[in-house]
């Protein structure tokens, strides 16, 4: 199929990025490349290079490793989803990981003090919202750039976490909190959930198509609709099959998906989400149509605070402990911002999606996991992560439609 006028590769990339599913393609390609490298190329290389090897061992692509990969990426993904919301506004949150750390530390202390763990979780989520809202108020109403406010937040919250945890470490053994990461859905339930998701997805898409036809609107091609459903179905079934092959679907992943569906729905399908995008695209335009830009800003920071708190709970659950290095002092912050940006969310605001943040978190997680497996040092990991981040932003810059803007 030869188009009338010649399209360069970059033009094609731009056109593709404009479509709803096309935005996934670059990050999926990155993921595929990383998986192919660590999953296929490295084992094959070792097999051929070593005469004594008896068989190829695909460690990276083994169900066990994929399972670990998902669990490792879950906390990053939770924070990245929240950070995406703020990035959509054209702001940034550098304090998300520190907020998560404070919340996790508080959770540990509360549980230790005998507060029932579900209530402790709720308290911690409220604290996260308050921390985010406070920063949002400073950004929106005082007019301090978000970079500065959240940088101050990063420093201050790191200190606060050390105050809450003077020893720097606290074990969390509470069964309710540990349950998020430990509870596994039975295999059958995992399959049922997957099939329900696919059926609902297909039904929603087909219903939309029928409604479009009934109202005389332009239609998506049947290939596009069918392709979307098939793609989504394949993705879900493959994930569940892999997870079931090792243990089964963990509750943590299901919760993460539910939260992402919720945030994704709010950002794309409600007037509130639309106003987030319009504030990110053109704040003046949003102000003129009567959107309360300041309130939107504050609410976005509240969302990132809530997501950070949830990330803190998930982290405490997964590690079974709260430590300074795992949250505030470690690489969690940069990994989660990196995940959002690798997913294709623009740092300039107005473009991006929380689903891409999940994929971005997988990219970051896979990179760390793969380099660990191949025995790379921490220094190598940092340099690789930097290169991938740069590559992702370069793809974003090249594929941004329109040349004059920003």
């Amino acid at each position: 199929m030869q188009p009338e006028h010649k399209l360069s590769f970059i033009d094609r990339l731009r056109i593709m990025r404009e479509t709803r599913f096309g935005a996934f393609v670059p990050v999926l390609l990155a993921l595929a490349a990383i998986w192919a490298y660590f999953g296929l190329a490295v084992p094959l290389w070792e097999y051929w290079g070593d005469a004594d090897a008896e068989s190829i061992r695909f460690i990276f692509l083994s169900p066990r490793n994929i399972y670990n990969l998902f669990m490792q990426s879950a906390v990053i993904a939770t924070l990245a989803v929240g950070i995406t919301v703020v990035l959509l506004l054209g702001d940034i949150d550098l304090s998300a990981a520190a907020t998560a750390g404070v919340c996790a530390a508080l959770l540990g202390v509360l549980v230790l003090a005998g507060v029932p763990s579900p209530i402790a979780c709720l308290i911690v989520m409220a604290v996260g919202i308050i921390m985010g809202t406070a920063q949002g108020l400073l950004v929106a109403y005082i007019g301090i750039p978000s970079f500065v406010v959240t940088l101050a937040g990063l420093l201050g919250f790191q200190g606060l976490m050390q105050k809450i945890l003077p020893t720097g470490n606290l074990n969390v053994g509470d069964p309710f909190i540990r349950g998020f990461a430990r509870v596994l859905l039975p295999d059958a339930l995992g399959w049922a959930l997957a099939i329900t998701c696919i059926v609902v997805f297909a039904w929603l898409n087909l219903r939309k198509q029928t409604q479009r036809k009934a109202r005389g609107l332009e239609l998506d091609t049947n290939t596009a609709v069918g392709g979307q459903i098939a793609f989504f179905g394949a993705l879900v079934l493959a994930t569940v099959a892999t997870l079931n092959a090792y243990r089964s679907v963990p509750l943590l992943i299901v919760l993460l998906m539910v939260i992402t569906v919720l945030v994704g729905w709010v950002t794309t399908s409600t007037p509130y989400g639309r106003s987030i995008f319009s504030v990110g695209g053109n704040p003046e335009s949003a102000r003129r149509v009567g959107i309360n830009v300041k309130r939107i800003r504050v609410s976005a920071f509240a969302i990132v605070g809530l997501m950070a708190a949830i990330g803190g709970i998930f982290g405490a659950s997964r590690f079974g402990s709260v430590s300074y290095t795992a949250f505030a002092g470690g690489s969690l912050l940069l990994e989660s911002i990196g995940a959002a940006v690798i997913g294709g969310t623009s740092l300039f605001g107005g473009r991006g999606s929380v689903w891409n943040a999940i994929l971005g978190a997988l990219v970051i997680g896979s990179l760390g996991n793969g380099l660990d497996l191949s025995g790379a040092s921490a220094a190598d990991k940092l340099m690789f992560s930097g290169a991938i981040l740069l590559l992702a932003v370069a793809i974003d810059a090249v594929s941004r439609s329109g040349t004059s803007e920003r």
Binding site: E18, K208, Q211, R212, R215, L217, E218, W265, V266, S269, T270, P271, Y272, R274, S275, F277, S278, G280, G281, N282, E284, S285, A286, R288, V289, G290, I291, G350, R351, S401, G402, E405
Partner: protein
């Protein structure tokens, strides 16, 4: 001619929107000094003046973006108050700013219903901001607005505004203003950045607005455009009215003279 100053007299159609004695000060700057202005339905009223004459300030006052320090507003001769953009849009006063204020990251349909997105019925337990968008309704409305104004070059209401031409963007901005049940549409230099063909498209659109019984306020520096679309021409200078003429009664040269020198009695500007 000078006795017609500030008012148009019995030949004018009954005004739809009328403001009198508008004063606006910015600190020490007295930007509007008692301006009178009116526009009727089904007419295009051009608002002209040199830079700093107060055109944009008057327009922002009418749109509620600035609050007048003094002055009265009348809608169909009933007194109203306009203190913020919501007041103005509730009265059906819509403005298309020179910079258009479109969100380039959103598609045409989303831009057209920005701030007034239709939501699906039901979901009464959710605040309006969190109810599901009715994006099909949004597209239908967008398509209607586009069809009404006959923007033929636009291929899809699902196209991102970032990829449209200047004329198409102007058309979208005008369609957004009209689509929100606007009766008064103000256009600020709509053809300033456009080529010949796109200017033609926009002028045709302005005429269609008049034909569909809108009251159009058209701000421009371009005399050819003004004399093509306007019915009446209101000249401002130094924040005061110079005069308002019917297009037939005046020539472009006289308008330019009134803009730059005022009427012959220079003392008239002290008002």
């Amino acid at each position: 001619m000078s006795e017609h100053k500030n008012m148009v007299g019995p030949v004018a159609p009954p005004p739809h929107l009328r403001v009198t004695g508008i004063h606006k000060r910015f600190g020490g700057v007295h930007a509007l000094r008692g301006v009178d202005f009116e526009v009727a339905r089904g007419e295009v009223m051009a608002l002209v003046g040199d830079n700093g004459a107060g055109k944009s300030t008057l327009m922002k006052v009418l749109a509620g973006a600035h609050t007048a320090d003094e002055g009265q507003f009348f809608m169909e001769e009933a007194p109203v108050s306009v203190n913020n953009p919501h007041d103005a849009s509730d009265l059906g006063i819509q403005i298309v700013y020179q910079d258009l204020a479109l969100c380039e990251n959103l598609d045409v349909a989303a831009n057209l219903s920005l701030g007034v997105e239709p939501v699906k019925p039901g979901w009464p337990f959710l605040p309006r901001m969190l109810r599901p968008l009715d994006d099909l309704e949004m597209e239908v409305k967008a398509q209607d607005a586009i069809d009404r104004l006959q923007v033929r070059t636009l291929q899809s209401v699902r196209a991102k505004v970032g990829g449209l031409s200047g004329g198409q963007r102007q058309a979208i901005a005008i369609a957004r203003a009209v689509g929100a049940d606007g009766s008064v549409v103000m256009l600020d230099e709509p053809t300033a950045a456009l080529g010949v063909a796109q200017t033609r498209q926009v002028l045709d659109m302005v005429k269609r607005l008049r034909d569909t019984n809108h009251a159009v306020i058209y701000i421009s520096h371009n005399m050819r455009d003004i004399f093509e679309v306007a019915d009446r021409i209101c000249v401002l200078r130094h924040g005061s009215n110079v005069a308002t003429w019917r297009k037939e009664d005046i020539t472009p040269d006289e308008i330019v003279a009134a803009m730059t020198r005022g009427l012959d009695d220079e003392a008239g500007n002290a008002a």
